[in-house]
Each structure stands twice: as C-alpha cells, then as structure tokens.
Assembly symmetry: C2
C-alpha cells in the first residue's frame, strides 16, 4: 500500500503517512459519487504509536494548570467559528445535510458553544466535585482518567464529531488527551477539525499530541484499542451492534466505555391531547421525525396511541404530511440498506405499511418518508423485532385498544434515551398520565411533556443517556456540562496528605473565586 | 430435601422454607466445628420469587416519601444497637473476630452510624444532585435504579454485611429494595439482621418485601441473578474470581455491578522516614497488617523499600514483631487454604520467606504471621504472580536497589484501593516523593501520607474504590455518603414536564430547608 497518495493521520503531534492496510473514500450522499480524497485504514501500529503518545500527553496534562486546556478549547472554538463556511461546506459534501439552517446555523454554533461551556467548566473546576473533610483531613475529587478514545457517529459531523463534539469536549475539559477515530462517512470534516485543533494547541501550549486522529481501523483493532491497558476510557456514539462489540471488549478489560446506542424514543399521545390540538401535534411530530431525514438518535420512531377516532384521524393527517414532504438524503448507502432491512424486519413481525416503504430513484441515497402501524397486542407478542430501530425518516404507530394494552406495550419497551407524553391541558388525560408515567419513566433517560424529543439542549440539567441498551449505564449523560465530564474521570482521594502536596482544588484555600466545593457538609463557593 | 429442618429464607415479606437444593452449616473458625443451624442453598425458584417481590417493592418505594426509608434506616439502627450484644456474640461465633474491641466497639457502631448517615442523606435529598434549568424547564436528578442485589463479604459481618453494611444502606437510602445474599460463613448473623430489618419495616411502614434474604445460591444462579431483567444493579464485595464472573454476567446484560475486589495496598516507605521514625512505622505497620488477622481489603500487603541499612533494619524489626505477636483466627478453612496457595504462588515466583509461612496446629484456623521478600527486579519480571493477594496476616516486602527500580515496580502495580507513602518530615524525602507520587496516584483510589491504609472513615470525602481490578469502575466509591448512594441510581431528566407532575425535589420550591440543588448555575440550599 503506497501511503503517499493517502491523506495523513495525526499521530504524536505530527501529520504523517499512515501505516495503512487499505484505503477508503467518502461518498457524497446526494450524488452517490465518491469524493476525491483517499483515506487510510490504519494498521495496529498506528494505534500503538498513538497510545504511547497519548500516555505521555496525559502525563503532561496532569502537570499543566486547567487554564491551559480551557484556553485550548476556547481558541479552538474561535478557529472553528472563523472557518465555519469551509467546514460546513465540507460536511455538507460528505453528509448531504443542509448547509442552512442545519449545519451552519444550528450544528456549528452548538459545537462551538459546547466547546466554550467545556472550557468554562475546566477553568472553574466545580465539575470535579471537590469534597473536603477538614477535620479528618480526607479530601477527594474527580481527576483525569487517562487517554480517551472517541468514536464519533455518522449523523452529527460537527456536534458529536470525534474531534469536535460532546465526548471530545468533555474528555479534554476533564484533563485527558483524545485519540479520535473519525467516522468513515465524513473523514475530511474530521480532518479539518484536527487541523484547527493542532493550530489551537500550538497557540495555547496545549500538548501537541493531546489530540490525535485515525480514520478507520480493522474491526479487531477497534476492539483491541478500547481494551488496551494505556486507555483510560472510551466514548462511542453509533450503531448498537458495533457499540456492543466494543463494550464487550472494554468490559472484559475493566475499561470504562460510555455508549450512546440506538433508541426509538417512544411518544405517547393521549386522546385528550388529540381532541384538543391534533393538527399541532401532527405538525410537531412530522417536523421532528423528518428533520435531518430522521437521522437523529432522539428521532421519534415509535408512537403509542389509544385507538379511536382521534387516533385514526391523527394517523391519516400524518400520512398526508409524510406524503407531501420531500424526503431528504440519507447519510450513506449503508444507512439506506440498513433502513430497508429494518423495515423488512418490522413488516415481517407484523407491522403494516401505511405510506412510503421504498428507496427512491437516484442520484443519491433517498428513501420515501415511511409510516408503519401495528396493534399493541401484536407489539407485545414480538416486542424485540417491533423495536428494531429504523434509522431514518420512519416511524411505527402502535395502536392500543385500551389502557391495559397501552400499559402492556410500554412495559415491553427497551431502555430508550427519551420518552414523551402528550396530554390535554384541561386535565382530561391526567388519570391516564398517572397510570403510564411511572412505567415510561423507568424506561427512559429523559421524560418529556407535550414536546418531541429531537432537541437536546446543552444544559447542566440535560440527560442524553438512559437505561440499557440505549446506553451502557443509566447514570451517565453524553450531553450536559458538567456531568458529561465526570465520565472521563476517576475518583481520587487524599488521606492525611500534606497540604503542599494536595491538588490545588483540595487545599483549604480555594484555587479561584467561582469553584464550588463540598466542605464539611455544605457547598461553598470560592 | 426436607426444608423443614432448615432455617427459613426471607422472601416476599415472609420467613418461609426455602426451595432448597442443598444445605450448609457455618463453622466456628476458632474450633473448626460446625455450628448447629442448617441453612438452605436456594433453587432458582427462590430468586425468581424474590425478584418478583422486589419489583413490586421498588414500585411501592417510588411512591413513598423519602422520610419512610429514612425512618426505616433509623429504627433499624436503633434495633441493632439494642441487640448489639446478641448480634456480636453470633458474629463472633461465626467469624472468630474478637468481640472487644473489634465487633462491639468498632464494627457495630460503624454499622449503625452508617445506617444513620444514610437515613439523613435520604431525608435531605442532596445526594440526588437535583439540577434545575428553570429557563429551559429541564430538570434532572438521580432516582432509584430498581432492585439491588447485595453480595456481602466474609470479613466484615456487620459493616459490610449484605443486610446491614454500606451497600445495603446506600441502596435503601437511594430508594431501592435489597435482595441480600448472605455470606455463607456467617448466615446466622445475617439472619439476625434480617429479623431486625423486618421489625423496623413493620414499625415504619417500609415495604415488608423491601428487604429479602437468601443464604446461598448455585454458582450459575448467582450469574443469572445479577443479569436478570428485573434487577437494577448489584453490589458485590469479595474475591476477585467470583466477582469477575458476576461482572461478566452483569456486563453482558447491561446491568450495573459495583465490585470491591482484591487489593494489596502498596505502602512505600522512603528512607528519610525510616531514619527519622523507624520504630514508629514498624509499630503502625504491624498493627495494620495483623489487625483482624490481616483480613481487610485495605490490608497493607505490599511494602516497597529502597534497599540500604534503614530498610534492612526496618525489615528485621517487623520480623521480630511478627514473630512475637500471637496470630488471630482466620475466617474459614477456605481462607486458610487460599492463603497457603497464595504464599506458594508468591514463593514459586521468587519471593523469599522471612518469617511464618505455615498453618498452625488446631483447633481452629490459624496461620503464622508471615513476611516475604523479593527484589524489585524480580518483582518486575513476574508482576502478576507477585501481586497475588494473600488474604490474611501476610505481607510482601519489595526491595529496590535504587529509585529507578522503585519507580519501575510502582509502574507494574495493578489497580488498588489504596497506596501509602511514608516520608521524612524534614523534607529529605521530598524529591523522591515527587518522583513516585504521580505514578502511584494513577494506580490507587486513595492516596495516603504517613498513615497505614486499614482505616476507612465513613465520610463524604472517602473513596473506597479504585482502578480495575480493585473495583469494576474507578469513578465510584463503596464507602462515603452521599457518593455511595449514586451507584444505585439512574439519571432521570424531566423536559418541559408540568410543575405538578415533577418529583418534589425538582419543583421550583424546595421540598425541605436543607436540600442542596444546582439551580441555574449555582448550588442553592433549601
């Protein structure tokens, strides 16, 4: 393999030819044509060298004050803003996601906002929950866990990108170097971010090997990577099958791995809500389900209804909207194929096709907006198949004959990131709400009222997580600062350690005026 | 199997005969004789019924105010205090741990103190980190995770007991029912606790099936239990082999499991400290290593020294003390056998026996206080074997020729609960300290100065945890309130949920005057 014709990897602070075992090209989803740059599939030697460098970067980072990583994140965010047009054009070519509003006006500002929030958290230090028992002289805080591998997803090239997104921001802010694996559907976008990150590191004194980039690995090297003794933890966003394989490997080695896997995000629409504002809910649902061609981890892929005239009218209205809305592009041929397979699986299990159901003529990867429907009794007979995630512009309606059927269907739900309940404002659904809320609550990370789940605000109160198999552990969130930082940290306790040897945030005197610390039974600032 | 002659299990709120597949008796370690009561080994049917009841108890608990579980824990603690003599006598019979000071004056008060701290945390609610974004109306907190299985260890029949210890207190305080598996070495002690727990539940309106007890399971049923869909999480304290088997099963099912496994707790004694106060450190080390016949998870099982006259003198003094101290009883024939095997493994790998090394004549299970020694270079050649935990009154000294050897030995250490460094008070060891602290820090949960690791204070600042394989995840602690509660909780977010439907601690108005909540970017009380 002649590596010279391939794009370089970023390892140990250098852009250098990969130890390549193969090559790939990204494909423009709007044309189906490959893009010109050729990217290497790395041999294990690249991982190995990157891990060695990451261990050294982790040591350097432990010695540097938090302000260095805060400034790195801020300068990096500024550089992204300054290069927004170019990044967004590249991401558009590689993903076919619309430039406006999606990439330029929504996802990119979200990305830089998140990096800046992470910078503020790193500088302030409250995220580490410094806890002081001054009487016993025992003190603890969360400290960097070591090199973090980040596997980014296909659907958010910027805000969840392996070198720009939430896991990256959290891992760096917590004090760790990042070894990023690009998603193979948008390598050039990820490479462009890495170029800016290198520049930001250069300008701020951040370790130049604190950010590294590989584009693609053999399956077995991915498994080896997350289990390597030099790795602190891994963040992964993507498909369930690949994520669970990585989890298995990491678990066996005792390495923390944080997964954000598939989710079908059940939405329960109660009859009073439909009688009150059916068309409004139809519009909200359609927008939420078809936005980004449905390629959101919080896409409302399952709608639970109580059968009756309002529900039937609702379904008819959604059908009409789905028919009348031009479908966007899917991210790749793989997404299209997987969508076809998922729909076939749903239909095999008894779901009836209401609208859509087939791929559209090229060029590009498109699929008709699709609705399916199934009875709750059938849903409860084949719960596993009928919860197959159809990643794209698809949703499945589950019709329950009565409350008991609805409750049984909810009890069959797997863990999900979100669950929504729409109810009437006049109280007419309240009795139903009280019956179903406790069942849904236990099965989702975020419970919504009268709102579709697609928006995931970057706020301290967010939980972008949930019970297995939506994630690997129900106690962690991938979005929301400061909690997302603590995923990439180990609890470090200091017992009887002499004052001058303590980390600054655990000394009697606070390191800055804004930090919150739990001191002798109460939160104190500064 | 005639279950009538066997002690009853506590399932679904009833003491009833087990579905038994076998029976066992505890053994008095001081005599080697079996104790009279016969206990059942449960069939899966007992687990199944207990799980069904636990699911119901979890639902009931979610509806009850936190005050109910707080009062339960307090009344339970009071009952334990009132029955202290009887409990301690039973535990003494089953474990041979001394009544005074150990069981009556140290472990039992620690146990009730811990239950009362957990009660206060449950009532106050700050443990759940309620986080409010009032502008976006997004709110989150930690909520009960569901039924918790607790597997208690052999060495702390009270303070880590499956129905009285830290995991139990944390799981209940977080709002979960507990399904306890007694340790087979002290079933009667655990049963006595369960009897008091039933009484406390009766007096306080706590669900009567909120605490359940089985004594022993088939290996495969243990694996099935921690992976069962009805389980929320598991807490396990015990041997590495059994713990890792449970972890494997729980991980595969996506069920959180918190392990506290083996640890050899390295202690580095620097030369300046020895020149300054060798005899004091000899005394501290001997007390720490032989206390409870060394059967502590924080026992100092590895001592790292820089070779030279002070170190040799230190070793000689410890040998003398070890020879002159009468060995206590080991907890069981199994502990004795495992100790013999561990010492054989250490010797096979090159450790030299300095003193002790053999079992003592009966009656009862005793082993001579034992010291071994090995060079650091050899230690680095066979790091795995030479880190074999010898659970008991044993320690291994590692002699380094120079600082480089010492650093290499530390770099070979597995994850441990604790690591201690003794250094001179006059600054003469400071340069050495700075070299080794960063290496040791990354490998332990709690770093100590000038102090042996055996004491584990119940304070918010404690970390009784550490990197794998000391535990399964370096971010959690088994001791210390409130952090230990959050292991048994899931992050629940409420997005746009109507005010009257929110949990009380997430409403604008605080549920009590003491709760701390993170509201719009700052901690506020009440």
């Amino acid at each position: 393999m002649c590596s010279d014709s391939l794009q370089p990897v970023l390892v140990a602070g250098q852009w250098r030819p990969a130890r390549a075992i193969g090559a790939f090209q990204a494909v423009n989803p709007a044309t189906g044509e490959p893009l010109p740059e050729r990217y290497p599939i790395s041999d294990w030697a690249d991982c190995d060298e990157a891990l060695e460098a990451a261990v050294d970067a982790a040591e350097q980072l432990r010695r540097l004050p938090p302000d260095v990583r805060a400034r790195f994140l801020e300068v990096y965010a500024d550089l992204i803003d300054q290069n927004a047009e170019a990044i967004v054009q590249t991401a558009h070519l590689e993903t076919a996601l619309p430039v406006r509003p999606r990439l330029l006006e929504v996802e990119l500002p979200r990305t830089t906002n998140q990096l800046r929030q992470a910078a503020a958290a790193a500088r302030d230090g409250s995220w580490a929950l410094p806890t002081l028992d001054t009487q016993l002289n025992i003190r603890s805080h969360y400290a960097p866990i070591g090199p973090v591998c980040v596997f980014g997803p296909n659907n958010f090239p910027l805000a969840f990108g392996s070198i720009s997104g939430g896991d990256f921001a959290a891992a760096i802010a917590a004090g760790n170097p990042v070894l990023a694996k690009a998603h193979s559907s948008h390598p050039r976008t990820t490479q462009a971010f890495a170029e800016l990150a290198v520049e930001a590191a250069h300008r701020t004194g951040f370790p130049k090997h604190g950010v590294q980039l590989l584009y693609r690995l053999r399956h077995e090297d991915g498994l080896r990577l997350v289990a390597d003794r030099r790795v602190g933890a891994t963040g992964y966003t993507g498909s369930r099958a690949a994520g669970l394989a990585l989890k298995h490997a990491a678990d066996a080695a005792g390495k923390p791995i944080y997964l954000e896997l598939s989710s079908i995000n059940p939405v329960v629409v109660l009859p009073g809500a439909l009688e009150e504002r059916s068309e409004k809910i139809v519009a909200e649902f359609t927008t939420s389900c078809l936005m980004g061609t449905g390629q959101f981890c919080t896409n409302p892929g399952l709608v639970l209804l109580l059968d009756g005239d309002p529900a039937r009218h609702f379904v008819e209205s959604v059908k009409e909207r789905f028919r009348g809305t031009p479908p966007g592009y899917l991210l790749s041929a793989g997404v299209l194929k997987s969508l076809e397979q998922s729909i076939a699986r749903l239909r095999d299990a008894g779901a009836e096709l209401l609208v859509g159901g087939q791929a559209l003529e090229g060029p590009g990867f498109r699929f008709a907006n699709t609705l399916l429907c199934v009875g709750a009794r059938r849903f409860c007979e084949r719960p596993e198949e009928l919860q197959t995630e159809a990643f794209g512009n698809v949703s499945l309606f589950v019709m329950s004959a009565d409350l008991e059927e609805l409750k049984r269907a909810i009890q069959r739900l797997e863990g999900n990131l979100t669950g929504s309940i729409y109810s009437a404002t006049d109280g007419s659904d309240d009795a139903l709400y009280e019956e179903i809320e406790p069942l849904l609550r236990q099965r989702v990370g975020r419970l919504l009222n009268d709102k579709m789940p697609t928006g995931v605000a970057v706020t301290a109160a967010m939980n972008h997580g949930g019970p297995y198999p939506a994630t690997g552990h129900p106690g962690f969130t991938a979005v929301g600062i400061p909690a997302s930082l603590r995923r990439f940290a180990a609890l470090h306790c200091y017992d009887n350690v002499r004052p001058e040897r303590l980390p600054k945030d655990l000394r009697d005197e606070a390191p800055n005026a804004t930090i919150w610390r739990w001191i002798d039974g109460r939160w104190k600032q500064g």
